[in-house]
Subunit: 183 residues, 2 copies
């Protein structure tokens, strides 16, 4: 499968088979994330992989409830990856201030999409999750309150590997202009 | 080339051959970006592709000068992609506030890495640029001051396709823990 095919095949998977994900496959996905580029090579990420059903249940109970209940499907995934956004180095933080951008969020986007695409190639389904109680995740895992948990990724074998959701995207003509803003 | 190979092969390219990049290849890269996932499928991106040397020179003269001169190599790229971060929809913005995250930055990370990896597969070199004067870019392209230009991507055929830079990354053991924070 080449990259074009991979990108076309990737979709969010919200229903998982009751099958454990082998740790060597999870590690392959994390290794792809590890190699991602980042601002000043700051690599502002670390990953806590939950694959113990009891721990996933404890985390999920509070993290996906109340206003966050739309993501409670993730509690049924055989693996849940907690992405910790690490603090950038001093010079990158000065850059953040001057440019008024949090580069680490862009870096998390890059690294986790490496993870997601690697999973897709390995036959695994994933879903990006930005909507959950970070406070509840930190409490359940005994992480300090200062830890930044911006993203979780649920992972597992798709319950129905042949299921294809219709993909809704703006057309290329709508989002791309040559040499001017095109307006 | 499978995804693992692609991720291992990708590196930042800062020296480009004096060869125009065919627009159908640029469009393929943008099409890969177009298919990226985003928070609530908000697709908060559009792209202004500069491949007219005169326009690239005008933009570069001011955007990569002064404190930003470390990225002036990008002015010699045959193509420079200006990534416009679009405003998220109302509900996503409420989510931003509640979670205290700018999801659109994560989305830009995902989409642009699709672009970068697709380029790599097509034999093109790219470099992520976060360090430039966005004000100068907007002025040169007559974009409104309110436009958000967080990222540029330079693109071209690598001057030396065989050049391999040593890759410095933390090891997997340093960034991944199973079922606890591992401390």
């Amino acid at each position: 499968m080449n990259f074009t095919e991979l990108v076309n095949k990737r979709q969010s998977t919200r229903k998982y088979a009751e099958k454990r994900v082998e740790r060597d496959l999870i590690d392959k996905c994390l290794d792809a994330a590890r190699l991602a580029p980042s601002a000043r090579n700051s690599q502002p990420w670390s990953f806590i992989v939950l694959d113990d059903p009891k721990i996933i249940a404890t985390v999920s109970e509070k993290a996906f409830s109340g206003i966050y209940k739309s993501t409670r499907f993730a509690g049924k995934a055989p693996a849940l990856i907690v992405v910790v956004t690490e603090k950038a180095d001093y010079i990158t933080r000065i850059g953040n201030l001057i440019r008024n951008i949090k580069y680490s969020l862009i870096d998390i986007g890059i690294a986790c999409e490496h993870l997601v695409l690697q999973a897709e190639e390995l036959g695994l389904g994933t879903c990006w999750l930005g909507w959950f109680s970070a406070r509840a995740v930190k409490k359940a895992l005994n992480l300090p309150r200062s830890a930044k948990i911006d993203i979780l990724i649920s992972m597992g074998y798709p319950l129905d590997p042949d299921y294809r959701k219709e993909r809704k995207r703006r057309s290329l003509g709508e989002i791309r202009h040559y040499n001017s803003a095109g307006k």
